[in-house]
């Protein structure tokens, strides 16, 4: 049982991180914290891909004499794209938070909802 858990150690970590991030997104009322939760959530998926590309005993995927086993570079490349997307999402999210702060004077979700209810 323990051996089984340790052989899939990376997945356990990924799932823990993923759920942490997801929980933060749902439970936190502060918009900045939501964005960071979202970022943790995305990073867990990056880890999932990166750890998936590891080949036991393999070296970094750069051609060199004396090595024949390489890690799989494709998931890393895919995640490079996803990281850029993550950065863009975070920048856009934080920019929106700044404008929400300017428009509502608060970044707490429940206070914003109260203000919005008045406008309806």
């Amino acid at each position: 049982m323990t051996a089984e858990i340790f052989s899939t150690f990376n997945y356990w970590m990924v799932i823990m991180l993923m759920m942490t991030g997801f929980y933060v997104v749902i439970a936190q009322g502060n918009l900045v914290k939501k964005i960071f939760g979202l970022n943790i959530f995305q990073v867990s998926v990056f880890l999932f891909y990166i750890s998936m590309g590891k080949v036991a005993g393999g070296t970094a995927p750069i051609l060199a004499d004396g090595y024949s086993v390489y890690s799989n570079p494709l998931p890393h490349v895919l995640i490079l794209t996803a990281i850029v997307v993550g950065v863009a999402t975070m920048a856009l999210g934080l920019a929106l938070v700044i404008r929400i702060k300017a428009a509502y004077g608060t970044i707490e979700e429940d206070e914003i909802e109260k203000l919005e209810e008045k406008e309806q």
């Binding site: 993923m18 997801f22 997104v25 918009l31 939501k34 979202l38 959530f41 995305q42 998926v45 999932f48 891909y49 998936m52 998931p75 895919l78 794209t81 996803a82 997307v85 863009a88 999402t89 856009l92 999210g93 929106l96 938070v97 404008r99 929400i100 428009a103 509502y104 914003i112 919005e116 406008e119």
Partner: protein, 498 residues
């Protein structure tokens, strides 16, 4: 250079290249002119693609000359060509309408941002449709999503900001779920090419977890019933042009992606028999049909009313998708096209009214039937299509949905479709009553008919509602072809993958 051979790449590259150029132009009328030319060019490319596909069969384009499954493949068959035509078509028709509407609803120094983001969003949506690579789909999904968050936040109402933020959170969770699913598929099969994935069907059938992630992710993007919370405010407070464009294309492209993944990759009906997800999606679709219409009846804001009606219409598409027979799937595909046209027409009519008379709530429409006869007539055509009156496009898709339901032996569904149609009558009637029978408020300034640059695109769409309703076979034949290719010949209800 052989122009025709490169059509699939041009479809995406033209708007992609145009976006940074538009960013450099900055001057708003120049940006508008440039984007208009580009969108119409894109539309021309997609029409040529559809013609080419009908003539010579599916086109596979290898990016960078790398053979699939190693390289990224653009794969165009009738289904994707059809969606490309509708997305780029709406994108092109909206442009002439956009100039005046954007001027009024977006702050002057941000107008060029609108055109840049519009082009990027178009790139993303076309990319989702054309790509044959599961991860590439994610990249395009994010291009279109990120630009649509910006587009929504351009609205002048401050609630546009919170709507955009909410969409950003939910959209990103959806896209990330999709990536998790794709990652799991890649781990099991070692490939990301959709066609190659489909050949590994037996392996895929063990991948319920991956499919669950993908389905939930895409359902968030397409606003399937319990996951629709981002949609109403996003549509209501975005600038009207953005609402027209997103309502007509964004959710539809996600429905397309769902059909593509479930039917082309996972093998559709055979897979339904195996895991039974069709019952879940069908139930959610049915609840969405009723709940969306019910909530729509009680809305005061016109755009919110139409947004809830969109949620109920997405229920129709998911119902057709889940029926698992040719008529049902064909209905879903036809409804993607039909709903895109009628919702675009309705939001555009509201956009004209907003532009001329600052319409926000349903009551503001009062008396406009006489003041803006052409605009309101187009709105009525849209309402009739939403209800599904014969000779309009709405009827065609509902009729085939009913046939699909009967063929699947699920006759109680017919009642639910009827009930949802009845509810559509009620909320449509509220609009029509306000426009034609309510007393005009006193002290309002003189309201004039919308300018031709707004009326012509509006009537192109409203005309299509009727034209495609009376000549249903134009779209229906293609849709049945597609459905037959995905499922197998009509009546058998069986058959596998590609």
């Amino acid at each position: 250079m052989n122009f025709e051979a490169h059509l699939p790449a041009l479809q995406v590259v033209i708007p992609l290249l145009a976006a940074p150029l538009c960013f450099l132009l900055r001057q708003k009328s120049l940006a508008w002119l440039f984007s208009t030319i580009v969108t119409w060019l894109t539309f021309a490319v997609s029409v040529m693609l559809l013609a080419a596909v009908r003539e010579n069969g599916p086109i596979s384009y290898h990016l960078g000359g790398w053979e699939p499954p190693w390289g990224i493949e653009y794969y165009v068959d009738t289904l994707s060509a059809l969606i490309l035509v509708i997305v780029s078509g709406i994108g092109a028709v909206v442009m002439p309408f956009a100039r005046i509407s954007v001027e009024r609803e977006v702050e002057a120094e941000r107008i060029y941002v609108f055109y840049v983001m519009y082009l990027l969003c178009l790139t993303g949506l076309l990319g989702i449709t054309i790509t044959g690579d599961a991860f590439n789909l994610f990249v395009f999904l994010e291009i279109s999503s990120l630009s649509s968050y910006v587009l929504i936040s351009l609205g002048k109402d401050r609630r546009a900001l919170t709507a955009s933020f909410r969409y950003l959170i939910m959209g990103t969770i959806g896209a990330t779920f999709y990536v998790i699913g794709i990652g799991a598929l890649y781990m099991m099969t070692g490939t990301l090419n959709m066609a190659d994935l489909a050949t590994r069907l037996p392996e895929l059938q063990k991948m319920e977890a991956a499919l669950a992630f993908i389905l939930v992710g895409l359902s968030l993007k397409l606003a399937l019933f319990p996951l629709h919370l981002w949609l109403p405010n996003a549509y209501a407070f975005a600038p009207t042009v953005v609402t027209v464009f997103l309502a007509a294309t964004a959710t539809k492209v996600s429905v397309y992606a769902m059909i593509r993944i479930v039917y082309s990759v996972f093998g559709g009906t055979a897979f339904f028999d195996h895991v039974g997800i069709d019952e879940t999606t069908m139930a959610l679709g049915l609840i969405g049909m009723i709940a969306g219409s019910l909530v729509a009846i009680f809305q005061r804001n016109v755009k919110r009313l139409l947004a809830y009606s969109s949620i109920s219409q997405i229920g129709y598409m998911m119902l057709g998708f889940s029926l698992g027979n040719v008529f049902g799937l064909a209905a879903a595909i036809v409804h993607i096209i039909n709903h895109a046209i009628m919702k675009a027409a309705m939001f555009m009519a509201i956009g004209c009214a907003t532009n001329q008379a600052r319409v926000v709530s349903v009551d503001d429409l009062a008396g406009l039937g006489r003041r803006m006869p052409l605009t309101m007539a187009a709105m009525v055509v849209g309402c009739l299509s939403l209800i599904g009156v014969p000779l309009t496009v709405g009827f065609v898709s509902k009729w085939y949905l009913l046939r699909g339901a009967f063929e699947a032996g699920l006759w109680p569904i017919a009642f639910i479709i009827g009930l949802s149609g009845l509810l559509a009558v009620i909320y449509s009637w509220r609009l029509i009553e306000a426009a034609y029978f309510a007393k005009e408020p006193e002290g309002r300034e003189e309201v004039h008919e919308a300018p031709p640059s707004m009326l012509i695109p509006l009537w192109i769409l409203a005309g299509l509602c009727i034209l495609l309703g009376t000549n249903a076979s134009w779209t229906l034949d293609l849709a049945i072809d597609v459905a037959t290719a995905l499922i197998g010949p009509a009546g058998t209800g069986q058959g596998g993958g590609q």
